[in-house]
């Protein structure tokens, strides 16, 4: 039963894909705009809600940053995050699908440069 539940959860998580692009060419410390796109297994944009993004440094003890999400179209969000430090980050993304199930994704954000 437990493995069945895990399989179902894993396949549900794999049904959705999340990509991001940057509004600016330079990835550096400070306020950064991300354009997130959520698609299904066929590659089509899907309607989701409660789209949240949390950014963490790879070093423990650094205060996480949370993005402000703004829906711009179906499955598309503009998220502004204040990247507080140069280095490697991980973005934790969560949202709900049409059935209200929570989907979680992790995306690397490597090589954030210093502001200067």
């Amino acid at each position: 039963m437990v493995s069945g539940c895990k399989q179902q959860t894993a396949s549900l998580q794999n049904e959705y894909k999340v990509h991001y692009s940057l509004k600016s060419n330079k990835l550096s410390v400070g306020e950064t705009d991300f354009h997130f796109k959520v698609s299904d297994s066929k590659g089509e944009m899907v309607e989701v809600r409660d789209f949240l993004v949390e950014g963490n440094m790879t070093h423990p003890g650094m205060v996480p940053v949370y993005g402000e999400s703004k829906k711009i179209d179906n499955g598309q969000y503009l998220v502004t995050m204040d990247l507080t430090m140069a280095g490697d980050w991980i973005l934790f993304i969560s949202f709900k699908n049409a059935e209200g199930q929570i989907i979680k994704k992790e995306l690397p954000l490597n090589g954030v440069g210093s502001a200067f």
Binding site: N56, T58, P60, G61, M62, V63, P64, S114
Partner: protein
Amino acid sequence: MLFKARKGLQWFLLFLSGYLIWQGLFGPQFAPKNLSTMFVWVHYRGILVIGLILMGNLLCMGCPLVLARNILRKISPPSRKWPQQLQNRYPAIFLFCLVLFLYEAFDLWASPFYTAILLIGVFATILLIDGIFTKGTFCKYVCPVGHFNFLGSLFSPFEIKKKRSSVCLSCTTQDCLHGSPQRNGCELDLFMPNKKGNFGCTWCLDCIQACPHDNIGFGINENLHVEKSLSQLSSGLGKLSARRDFQFLVILFCFGAILNAFGMVGPAYKLQIELADLVGWKSEVFTLFVLFVVFLLVAPWFLIKTANKGTQLLSKNNNPNKFWKEKLLVSMIPIGFSIWVAHYLFHFLTGVFTFFPILGISFPVQYMGVPESVVSPIQVAIIFIGLFYSLFLVRNTLASSFKKRVMIPWMTLHFILAIFSIWIMNLPMEMRGTFIGG
């Protein structure tokens, strides 16, 4: 009461260590979401330096390794003596270097798994060494953290000391050193009447319990003139400042502090990438090794040699105090310690409550840590305190014997170390898991 508190702290830290090992091995493998990396690299180091500054060697006092060792020794008491050739601080110096190297090479701060392996390794080492060899062999000769604490606690406000010299003079049993059938004596061979300062003392309280005259307790540390106290004969240690192993330990402590902080900023990464490109070998272990050789051997050798040569020239080779070189080396301890404190406090203060979300407790983001804008001036202030302490020791060593200008070379050296450290601490950190060859 004090003894029970120590036992309680040891049991608490032993259980916490076990939990952190389990978390590191089986918990989420993303460092900021794992208590193992969080507590070991942020909170433990922060609490350690705060304890040293406000009290003394508290974390050696509550060391869970010693408790685990004592449990083992009840089952299987050791019988052998630590080899004569290794009765010095070189094993601890080697392990100190090794831990610094592994920290960078394996990005231990970013890996819960490797952090757990390190903890297991430390427990295995003490159980192996103190399972075979008698007394406090691991603490006295091997433990790198203990030796960090020994140097840091030189400036602690409290020490364990005798209450009345006259009682010690009339004592015939010397239980504080040798123990009695009921009580252990000092496992690190410190004889209380001749003990000076905190170096070599783990605050284990054995001597307090062993003294039949109730003549040992906590008191104000009166050995803050470390250039003097470390140049005098001390029980179980000899004349520390003249010992080659102690001098290497001081150099490692000071330059290791700078290296450890430098490893987390952009120029360190750039330097390593350029070096890898230059030799055409994209090996992080190699570039790190070169960085370690430069920071821990070449730079200290050049800077200290130059400062000594300058001092000699300015004094016109007139050196009435023949111990000035070793006393001046001791003056590096305060600046080195201040760099460690500034570095560790940065991580601790900026992320002091970041563990709450990991425990599933919601906590306002804005209160999770002290803002960097507040912590940065504190760091600078700490380094300046260390700098002035070091300058004070230089003055104490040279002022009575020479003209003021003789102090310039060593004071310049301390200024260079302080300014370089402040520059590092003001650079944005670039914490990267991998950067050479992907």
